[in-house]
């Protein structure tokens, strides 16, 4: 594989020194807490989300061990029910989205040729809130007070009569808390991608990964409020005796389900979409050409996002709604498979036309295609109401969504880890170790989850802490459990590979793969200011095109070097025309303070210390007021007439 040399520096030593002075952060405890560098924040997202993944994975192993044989007493039902709820909740909310947002955080500014995100302090706030919300939820587990009614928390099981105790308060408040981080991150991604792209990066030159992240962010903007409202109403019903979900007082239990799935189905794509973006980002380097049908893939991404808001009722096909509405939602759910089909065949065509370079990231992409396609088939089956009614809430659906989510999100994430590890850490991973990890993860995944299709069809419902031997599910369950240990061993090997790379890996060149996007046109790992000279983009594959590369080298100009201050460029939303230079904020402790105030607020709500909650809210408001307080400027600069 050819490795390119570092781009010829277009900035003088003097320029670099000044950039360092404005952007560099001396390692100190204060800088650790106050940093607003998107790369440090992105790395933290990745590490924290991985930690939650390990916790949720250990929960899954405990469950699989319990289910290895019938009538096992390893776990009590109360323990099992908390574990499966935390497994689902954490994998969906605390691992998938934050992990992909972590990659987005690290990569979006690099891919679009910017020096940071649009709102670096908001970005830091997002991370702290995510961390605190995750700890808030996991902390309940050792006290036996973890959420225990499934990740979709149907009422009336979750009301204060049927689930007393803090369990579901932790769930509702934890997700509301986390929602702040997800919303803030999404707004940041959208604005960053709209305004901070390098000059010349018109919409048709935006990398597919950035498209995927931005479309995902839009989905979050419009989907998350439904979940937030749902959880707020649940908390009010539990704590303050409102009756939103109480059928005896004009409430309705299905309101919860509608709102939950109006969020929940888009959320499936919120998880999978950035991962599909990873596939489109990784594939060019290992096929030596761009992804076939750029415009088709973009259209597919956008149409999935739109259609995904019209399919939520397929999660409620067994609730006995009118058949007319079932026919409509069944049609919409059927249609949504088509844009995914377009993407799959675009990638296949890319592989067939290109030259395959078989390295670990490509192996995971192949694993992704095999697994995700199988999950897609069962997904299309679930679109058919009649079939859905037979297999929903059985192990068949457990098999289905693990094929979609492990195939569609975890495999691309693993590909991304190997692909961008050299960029993020500046070290190469060990290829042999990576291949073993792939073999184990892929085998373990199939052995664990394929049999679930079978015992689902054989009548085993999901979310049972044990089962009897008579129905004949034991052998298959044992196979699944063995598979889960193989899968865990594979994932452990991934972790070992990463640690090995960081400690022993050979230094990575700026562009070890011959990638096409801008992150490969700067150092590994990048300097705090990302690019000494912001690029002028001339094509969809700037790192493969001479003019774009030269814009950072020989053709560098002072108005793209911007050495006096923490500065980056704003460009126009559609065609990436240069607009103006903006000043970026310095490191600050305010994001951490605000996140702490919110942590106190939600903890106080949980324990019903309402005066403390009010005080925390006021403290948060004051922090925001100070954060946004305008600096005093001379009147001439402001332009004041009178």
């Amino acid at each position: 594989m050819s490795t390119t040399t570092a781009p010829a520096p277009g900035a003088s030593q003097e320029d670099l020194a000044r950039l360092d002075e404005h952007w560099g952060e001396r390692p100190s405890i204060r800088s650790w807490f106050s940093t607003v560098d998107h790369k440090r924040i992105g790395r933290r997202y990745l590490v924290t989300a991985s930690l939650f993944f390990v916790l949720a994975g250990i929960s899954a192993l405990a469950m699989r061990t319990q289910l290895a044989r019938p009538e096992s007493n390893l776990l009590s039902p109360q323990e099992y029910n908390q574990l499966f709820t935390m497994h689902g909740t954490a994998m969906i909310f605390l691992f998938s989205t934050p992990m992909l947002f972590g990659f987005g955080n690290y990569l979006v500014p690099l891919m679009i040729g910017s020096r940071d995100m649009a709102f670096p302090k908001l970005n830091a706030l997002g991370y702290w809130v995510f961390l605190f919300a995750g700890l808030f939820m996991w902390a309940s587990l050792p006290f036996g007070a973890a959420p225990n009614a499934g990740w979709f928390a149907y009422v009336p099981l979750t009301d204060d009569v049927n689930t007393p105790g803090l369990h579901m308060d932790v769930y509702a408040l934890g997700l509301l808390f986390l929602g702040i981080a997800t919303t803030a991150g999404s707004i940041n991604f959208i604005v960053t991608a709209l305004k901070l792209r390098a000059p010349g990066m018109s919409l048709n030159r935006v990398p597919l990964f950035v498209w995927a992240i931005v479309v995902t962010a839009f989905m979050v903007i419009f989907a998350l409020p439904a979940l937030n409202l749902d959880n707020a109403m649940l908390f009010l019903d539990r704590r303050f005796d409102t009756h939103f979900f109480d059928p005896d007082a004009a409430g309705n239990v299905l309101l919860w389900q509608h709102l939950f799935w109006i969020f929940g189905h888009p959320d499936v794509y919120i998880i999978v979409m950035p991962a599909l973006g990873i596939v489109s980002a990784v594939l060019p380097a290992f096929t030596r050409r761009g992804v076939v049908g750029y415009v088709l893939v973009v259209l597919a991404i956008v149409s999935i996002a739109i259609i995904s808001f019209g399919v939520w009722v397929h999660h409620m096909f067994a609730t006995g709604l009118p058949h007319l509405s079932y026919s409509f939602f069944s049609a919409a759910s059927t249609v949504i498979t088509i844009p995914s089909g377009i993407q799959i065949f675009a990638w296949l065509a890319t592989m067939v036309l290109g030259r395959l370079v078989v390295r670990v990231p490509l192996l995971f992409l192949i694993g992704f295609i095999v697994t995700f396609v199988l999950g897609g088939f069962t997904g299309a089956m679930f679109a058919l109401t009649a079939f859905d009614q037979q297999v929903t809430d059985s192990y068949f659906v457990v098999a289905h969504f693990h094929y979609v989510l492990i195939g569609g999100a975890v495999f691309p994430i693993l590909a991304a880890i190997y692909y961008w590890l050299p960029k993020i850490t500046g070290r190469m991973y060990h290829e042999g170790l990576g291949r073993w990890a792939f073999a184990l993860v892929f085998t373990g995944m199939q052995v664990t989850f394929f049999p679930m299709h079978l015992y689902g069809l054989f009548g085993m419902p999901r979310r049972v802490y044990t089962y009897r031997s008579e129905p004949g599910w034991d052998v298959w369950n044992l196979v699944s459990t063995i598979g889960s240990y193989v899968l865990a061993a594979g994932l452990l090997l991934v972790l070992i590979g990463v640690v090995h790379a960081i400690r022993r890996g050979r230094p990575a060149p700026p562009d070890p793969w011959g990638g096409d996007t801008l992150e490969w046109a700067t150092d590994s790992p990048p300097k705090p200011y990302n690019f000494p000279v912001l690029p002028q983009v001339h094509s969809l594959h700037p790192t493969w095109d001479e003019a774009s590369r030269a814009s950072m080298g020989d053709d560098a100009t002072a108005d793209r070097t911007l050495t006096d201050g923490r500065r980056t460029l704003l460009t126009s939303e559609l065609d990436g025309r240069r607009e103006r230079v903006v000043e970026m904020p310095e490191a600050s402790l305010q994001p951490l303070l605000l996140a702490l105030a919110l942590l106190v607020f939600f903890t106080a709500l949980l324990f019903a210390w309402y005066p403390v909650a009010l005080a925390a809210l006021l403290a948060g408001a004051v922090t925001i007021a100070v954060w946004l307080w305008p600096p005093r400027r001379p009147e001439e600069e402001l332009g004041v007439v009178s």
């Binding site: 039902p77 239990v253 026919s327 993407q343 067939v352 395959l356 089956m381 004949g472």
Partner: protein
């Protein structure tokens, strides 16, 4: 186990079809698991489930065909497109992507959607006005079974006449549950504050396992039931039993047991028709001796398990609403004898 084996029950399995299912799905994995009482949706015994099994096989073979196509492209790329001298082609075969990724799937999906609608309509067709009706109420964690016009109840077991469509009216006393008999009929959820309807049909006699499919709390795992499909006369006999007082105690032990039941804590929650015990907190026990299990599928219904259950249900079904019973050691055998005599 007290389960009476209907001879038809033993015959009804179709090992061949089941083996095809398992073998095509999972290669050469052992088929041992298909034996036993597997409530498999691929071994359907009623009009509803037979339709869905048919739909499944159509979907399955279509999926396999498309999967073969995808695998062929992948393997082709992996075999022929990785040599170092492979020339990268820079074409944009948009037509291929559109046809293979959208056109062909669209045609397949339209056909499949039509099949799905047909089956949805078939499942939705309500049984005739004079079809027998059974009312099922979900409780945490057992099923209450009643028949309109009949003053009596049973639990975790409902009878239907073979070859007839039976309307099932579903309610819940607490949280959401889901009524699922894989071999007979797909799921219908029990919605708090609403009444839902489904129907059951079995084309051959037998005992069909059903289980709650919507997570409903601590003991969701033990909320199973059986549908007993039997010829019309037996079904009518069941109806008659349901409406009449429970069997009177015959032996001294049984009489002492009945006394212990009525005067002890049992009657605070349970009913036995004709004894004056008519509480409706827990299941009606008028025919408890004939039921297929104790605790909605938690343990088999035999003397040993019954004794253990009465003494402390929390060791058998932790979290269940029945507290440990302070029954004297010498009274317990009487109580067991009485309850087992209630058939």
């Amino acid at each position: 186990m007290n389960e009476t084996r209907d001879p038809a029950y033993a015959r009804r399995r179709r090992p061949v079809r089941h083996a095809v299912a398992a073998a095509t799905l999972a290669g050469a994995l052992p088929l041992a698991a298909c034996a036993g009482d597997s409530p498999s949706a691929l071994n359907p015994a009623g009009a509803g489930a037979i339709r869905i099994a048919g739909l499944w096989w159509v979907l399955f073979w279509i999926s396999m065909a498309v999967f073969a196509e995808v695998m062929a492209l992948l393997v082709w790329a992996l075999v022929f497109r990785r040599r170092h001298d492979t020339r990268v082609r820079h074409g944009q075969p948009l037509r291929f992507v559109a046809v293979a990724g959208a056109g062909v799937p669209l045609v397949i999906l339209v056909v499949v959607y039509a099949l799905g609608l047909r089956d949805l309509a078939a499942l939705g067709a309500a049984p005739g006005r004079d079809a027998p009706t059974v009312e099922v109420t979900g409780h945490k964690w057992w099923w209450e079974v009643r028949v309109p016009g009949v003053d009596g109840a049973t639990a975790n077991e409902l009878h239907i006449p073979v070859g007839e469509r039976v309307r099932v009216r579903l309610r819940t006393a607490d949280v959401l549950h889901s009524f699922w008999v894989p071999q007979l009929m797909p799921k219908t959820d029990l919605i708090a504050g609403e009444v839902r309807e489904t129907w059951l049909h079995a084309e051959r006699p037998g005992r069909y396992r059903g289980q709650c499919a919507e997570y409903c709390g601590t003991q969701h795992a033990h909320m199973a039931f059986q549908v007993v499909a039997e010829p019309r006369p037996q079904f009518e006999a069941w109806l008659a039993r349901l409406g009449s007082p429970a069997r009177q105690p015959q032996t001294d032990a049984e009489r002492r047991g009945q006394q212990a039941f009525v005067q002890g804590t049992c009657a605070g929650c349970h009913a036995i028709r004709g004894t004056g015990a008519d509480a409706r907190v827990g299941p009606d026990l008028s025919d408890v001796g004939s039921r297929w299990s104790i605790g909605a599928g938690a343990v088999p219904n035999d003397a040993g398990h019954l004794g253990g259950w009465i003494a402390n249900p929390q060791t058998v079904k932790p979290g269940s609403y029945m507290p440990p019973q302070p029954v004297d050691a010498e009274r317990l055998p009487d109580l067991i004898a009485y309850l087992r005599s209630l058939t």
